[in-house]
């Protein structure tokens, strides 16, 4: 295996380990499952910060804190809307709220220990923005599928983009676009998987089905994913650093693989 690839993978493993370590609270595990950590986002942010020449210890801290915020926000998405009347249901709701708060508090703690007040503010601004968008998306009606998806991508890419704008320099726009497109792919893959395998298709798919019919919605979604992947490849070619281009290509290839696996499973069924 290429030595640089190996180093990259070892770094990602270490970052994931640190995220889990910082998210650890024994009682939480007894009642709730933590939301999954997006390895795609970990890799993207890591790649970007390394490209910008940020020192290794800082890269780890930034990626870990960004993912802790994401874990916090995603935990709060899981808080039940239903009135819980079983002891387990009540306890789960309570701990889901507290888990999110705990993960978010760890982000502040880690950056404060690094004395990185600027990054604290940068990420807080992003959290502010995310919640403004979330409430708007959740409460307002009448979204088209496209509008909904665009807003979801804004929400899900905000944390990464905040780093892009802070550190990207001349290449900030390229990286902001890369983040947008890769998160778009991630969202679409998630929607595609949900509409095929899980009860309750995602909101985007439901909106698209209303506009185009179910069959056309599948086709449109697939085309959209391919278009987004193609756009990602074009953007990655704009990067100066060869290692960055190679690793980004690997990430894009993994997304293609994931899509192909989903299609194969659909055919088998």
């Amino acid at each position: 295996m290429n030595l640089l690839r190996h180093d990259f993978q070892e770094e990602i493993k270490e970052i994931l380990r640190q995220i889990k370590e910082n998210a650890e609270q024994r009682i939480l595990y007894q009642y709730i499952d933590n939301p999954p950590i997006s390895q795609l986002r970990v890799c993207l942010l890591y790649l970007f910060l390394r490209q910008c020449g940020v020192r290794a210890s800082a890269i780890r801290r930034y990626v870990v804190t960004a993912m802790l915020i994401q874990l916090g926000l995603d935990s709060h998405e899981q808080v039940s809307l239903e009135k819980e009347d079983t002891p387990l249901g009540v306890r789960t709701r309570q701990l889901t709220v507290l888990a999110g708060a705990y993960f978010s508090s760890r982000y502040y703690y880690l950056l404060a220990e690094m004395e990185d007040v600027r990054a604290i503010g940068q990420l807080a601004r992003s959290i502010q923005e995310i919640n403004e968008w979330k409430i708007n998306l959740y409460w307002e009606n009448g979204w088209t599928a496209e509008q909904y998806l665009r807003r979801k991508v804004d929400i899900e890419s905000s944390l990464l983009k905040s780093f892009g704008k802070a550190y990207g320099g001349e290449k900030a726009d390229v990286w902001v676009n890369i983040f947008s497109q890769m998160i778009l792919v991630e969202q679409l893959l998630g929607e595609y998987k949900a509409c095929r395998w899980e009860e309750g298709a995602g909101t985007y798919f439901r909106l698209l089905s209303k506009e185009e019919g179910t069959h056309n919605a599948y086709q449109s979604m697939l085309q959209y994913i391919h278009k987004a992947l193609h756009q990602c490849r074009k953007l990655s070619a704009l990067l100066d650093d060869e290692e960055g281009r190679v690793e980004l290509k690997h990430l894009i290839d993994r997304c293609v693989e994931e899509l192909d696996n989903q299609k194969v499973r659909a055919e088998e069924m």
Binding site: Y108, E115, Q128
Partner: protein, 317 residues
């Protein structure tokens, strides 16, 4: 004595803080504007900002610096209340509908997260890393304290030490650092900063113990919630712990616990020595709070801090 009387000399600066709080949660998103100002409009004692300003009086008092600490601490407290109401499935707070009951849990979560983010953005107007280290550690401890409270629900075998550590994290710490950070932001000497922390910690402990007492014996209308609501939710506080472990009637009480006869448990606790024991402990903390201030110069601010401590000991809601 009312808190408003003690706060009177600071009313101008507190009015300014109130306006800054309003400004802090300002957003173009109309639903979020309503939800985040919902709790603000319901009022509150604003005791943490007052402690910040009082702490600041022992250094170079500059409201333009102190406001960042005062506002962010109050916002952190507000964010935790919005989320607490989801945790407790509470319909009312301060006599008004909670955010979660007026809208729903999802909106309440987004609102709390938004307010917390705003708090941090305002705090980062101050670049002193020490302030952020103190504040961030306190927030982690606050969260840990809340998680431990859930862990200890219905846990009658918890120790007094457990209880005290929990209330330290849940309540006392934020009050302690309110005083401490006010002094730090005003460049007070390290000794003064530390003394104010100790004062705030002890006052905070007394505040929570008094809260726990009032939950049993307080007037429902003044409290804004039914009596014994902590116990009904499984939150075992000091008067209840005393009854279970130490009281001469502990054996009978344990039978009530076994049979889950909550109304009787509340009645027994209300009439028990547990209330007096808790009161005496609160008094001890208040004495330590006052002692922490002794070496500080005698001035209006010190006087106000001592009056607040007395108020906490005497309060009925």
């Amino acid at each position: 004595m009312k808190l408003t009387d003690i706060f009177w000399p600071f009313r101008s600066d507190m009015d300014y803080i109130e306006r800054e709080l309003d400004r802090a949660i300002d957003t173009k998103e109309p639903v979020l504007q309503k939800t985040s100002s919902h709790l603000l409009k319901a009022g509150g004692k604003r005791i943490r900002p007052v402690f910040v300003l009082l702490g600041g009086k022992f250094g170079n008092y500059d409201i333009e610096r102190l406001k960042h600490v005062a506002v962010s601490l109050e916002l952190i407290h507000m964010a935790s209340l919005v989320h607490d109401d989801v945790i407790d499935d509470a319909e009312l707070r301060r006599g008004k509908m909670t955010v979660k009951s007026k809208w729903d849990n999802r909106i309440a979560m987004y609102t709390g997260d938004y307010i917390f983010a705003r708090a941090l953005m305002i705090a980062t107007e101050l670049s002193n890393p020490q302030i952020h280290k103190i504040l961030s550690r306190a927030i982690v401890d606050l969260c840990t304290g809340e998680i431990e409270q859930i862990r200890d629900l219905h846990n009658w075998n918890q120790s007094l030490r457990n209880y005290l550590r929990r209330i330290k994290r849940k309540t006392a710490l934020l009050i302690a650092i309110s005083c401490q950070l006010g002094a730090l932001a005003a460049d007070a000497t390290p000794d003064v900063v530390h003394r104010l922390y100790v004062y705030g910690y002890n006052v905070g402990m007394a505040f929570q113990i008094t809260d726990d007492i009032l939950d049993f014996i307080g007037d429902e209308k003044k409290l804004g919630k039914p009596a014994g609501s902590d116990l009904r939710q499984g939150n075992i506080t000091l008067p209840a712990l005393y009854m279970y472990h130490v009281s001469p009637d502990a054996r009978c009480f344990r039978e009530l616990v076994k049979e889950n006869r909550v109304d009787e448990m509340i009645r027994v606790i209300r009439e028990s020595e547990g209330i007096q024991v808790a009161r005496r402990l609160a008094e001890r903390y208040l004495t330590r709070a006052a002692q922490a201030l002794t070496p500080l110069p005698d001035n209006k601010s010190k006087d106000a801090l001592l009056k607040i401590a007395r108020f906490i000991g005497e309060r009925q809601f």
